[in-house]
Amino acid sequence: MASKHKIIFQPEGKRGEFVEGTTILDAARDVGVDIEAICGGKLTCGKCQVIIEQGMENLSPVTDDEKRLLDRRKAGKNYRLACVTKFYGDVVVYVPEESRGGEQIILKEGVELSVAINPAVKKYYLELPKPHLKDDLGDFERVLAALREDYGIGDVEIDYEVLRKMPDVLRDSDWKVTVSIWNDKEIIDIQPGYKAEESYGLAVDIGTTTVVGYLTDLRTGKVMAVDSMMNPQVTYGEDVMSRITYAMQYEDGLEKLNQKIVDGLNKILENVCREAGISTEEVCEMTVVGNTGMHHIFLKINPQHIAIAPYVPALHCSHDVKARDLGLNITKGGYVHVLPIEAGWVGADNVAVLIATEPYNQEEMCLVIDIGTNGEIVLGNREKLVSCSAAAGPALEGAHIKHGMRAATGAIEKIRIDPETLEPEYKTIGNAPPRGICGSGIIDAAAELYRAGIVKKNGRFNLDLDSPRVREVDGTPEYVIAWADETSIGHDIVMTQKDIREIQLAKGAMCAGAHILMKELDVEHVDRVIVAGAFGNYIDKISALIIGLVPDVPVERIESVGNAAGVGARIALISREKREEANRIARNVEHIKLAVHPSFEKEFSMAMYFPHMDRKRYPSHEEVLKMRGAE
């Protein structure tokens, strides 16, 4: 009987005893040390390098192949490849950071989050024995046998299109191939040669207005290229409702809307792949998030029923569909993973925001708001989460506002008004002459007009002021932010009484939603406000507090996390655990239907005041006004 030898793995200190001639990799797997070995001991990847701290003399000699790989990876002294190095005496092995499996990625764009990388699609390199007359096993069974032997993977299925190309790929590549397996269940691609380290996915956030795609390296979680575009469906309506109406009114409406978004996504796919220097067929999976309307239209599911009470979606849970069934040009056998939906109007985009911000892991009472035409609000902590959707309308994005515009060159993005002189100071995007006011400027304008006493707490203009900027035109009060000669449009840029009313309706809906959720959870105040959505990055937090867009909270406890929905889509792409978490969370959030809530009417009307009709709910209001004054 062969003698046993001790092996210790650092830095974890795990140890075990093995018969002589065991490879370091086998020993590591046995004691539960995770060493990355993508090629499965084929001496092709060279990823499994370890540093021998003690017992160098007890190892099998370095072969030419091993040396070649170690050199290619620029390995230092005492480095060996764990997959082929056998030990014949006691050894101490150090596993360097880069060779450890179960890698984590830290996301730091607005959201700071650590995610263990475990993508749904994994790649395996195989070198198959060539068949001959005495070994005439079928190609697929030959691949299965190799997967079982080299990687311990049990029976998996194979996509039909992959099956069709397999015989040729195997023979053209001299039986050295890389197979992609989805969710340990199905072979979705077979590529010639060693491709185990080239694994890509596309995460997509389909917004009503903007569509963003992130080409991501599935093995590192790093973004390789980003592309965005206007949602090409806008020609059929600016908001979700009008698009759903279009789908209801025309027989081929859904077909057309769906084709638009599919074409758009293929364009994004093409662009990011070109930028990264890969072909679109190398992308092996896609994740998609979007509001419920975008979700249904993308999947070509009739969206009618989510737009009509009781607002029931076709499904809540996540869904995997072959990309080719939707006409998307990633690898032929590849899947699209669509994230789950919480409730009628709280969609996969909100679920993505939740898995990116994890309020359900917090002790503190967090309010997560995504400001948009349809604002989604979630409140809670590790105990419980409640959500609602507030029909804020497009005012805060610049629509329905006389001089409202999108955030583009010449848009006034910041405004301050001197309460003494009532004279404004403003800043435009690109420092160009002003053309209009974008979302952040609109919120600033409302806050400053109110702070300067030009607009009263009930939203009404105060016309008893001695300033040429406060005037009445055709019976409608307005405030002149920029005189015609300062602008590039040749007329005064103003904020009218009607504009203020629109802002009141929008902010009232958001604010009422938040307060109703607070009532539901029986809390008087929130500890933290997380503002999601690209728009959130630009909102002035003090202005948001002054008008009462968010509940009373210390200004430093308001955080903007940018496009958290996009981050959530990327997380789902690289983590199967997070996908499960998303499904769990989506069903655990309790959805409150605002429009039928008994206090909605009352809360809504009170919340339309600046900052709120019930001033007790804004105890820091005076202090916030002072903070702005001291800026």
Binding site: T245, A307, I308, A309, R460, T476, S605, M608, M613
Partner: protein, 225 residues
């Protein structure tokens, strides 16, 4: 009889309470009206309703917005609750019946509630079908009640598509009914296209429309004034 000075004082407080949305003031004045033996209908019409008319004017001028009108309505209802049970049966001159509701698939009812209130203060008997009302129900109720007006509300473009169907169904079975449609997505064009008799684009305009209607109708109700 209540002396004229007292009557004027109570009416003034009812009116003021509604305009300043002070529910307590309204309740107190309404109770006092009953205690001193004032005519309940007089208190309603020349106190509460007169106050609501002023609210309408303030709204027209832009002084008041949706929140104020909603709260004025609460104050008005607080007074009505006290006074209405004491209105003498023979004094009730119903100016007509209205069937009102939010169409199937829609649950947004703030606008509908405002319009409903305006009809009520104008002396209409309002049959409120609520929200998410099946389309056939509008037709049924308009026939059951011989309603003069059927008012339909929708806040979403998707549910608005139910309106032409209801209009067609009502026209077929009850050609004399006046049909009023309202809600954010509704336009003059759609109202004309579907053959509605009147329309209002949003809660605020619905209030204006309803207020105008009240003005016109109140003259008929109160005849002598």
């Amino acid at each position: 009889m209540v002396d004229e000075e007292k009557r004027k004082d109570i009416l003034e407080r009812l009116k003021k309470g509604v305009v300043e949305f002070d529910e307590d003031m309204v309740r107190e004045a309404a109770q006092e009206a009953l205690d001193v033996g004032m005519d309940a209908l007089d208190a309603i019409m020349n106190g509460l309703v007169a106050g609501m008319e002023e609210v309408g004017e303030l709204f027209d001028k832009g002084e008041y917005f949706v929140p104020e009108v909603l709260m004025c309505a609460d104050a008005l209802y607080a007074g009505l609750d006290i006074l209405k049970p004491h209105v003498k049966k023979e004094d009730i001159k119903v100016s007509g019946q209205v069937v009102i509701g939010v169409v199937e698939g829609d649950v947004h009812d703030i606008g509908k509630n405002l319009v409903k209130m305006m009809f009520e203060v104008a002396g209409f008997e309002v049959i409120d079908l609520g929200k998410d009302v099946p389309l056939e129900k509008f037709v049924e109720e308009s026939l059951n009640t011989k309603a003069d007006i059927v008012a339909l509300s929708a806040m979403m473009t998707t549910t608005m598509l139910g309106m032409p169907k209801v209009i067609e169904m009502i026209r077929e079975k009850n050609p004399n009914a006046k049909i009023l449609i309202g809600g954010a997505p509704v336009s003059k064009e759609s109202a004309e296209k579907w053959g509605a008799d009147g329309w209002a684009p949003d809660a605020t305009n619905a209030v204006k429309e309803a207020i105008n209607m009240v003005k016109g109708l109140k003259k008929e109700v109160m005849g002598e004034e």
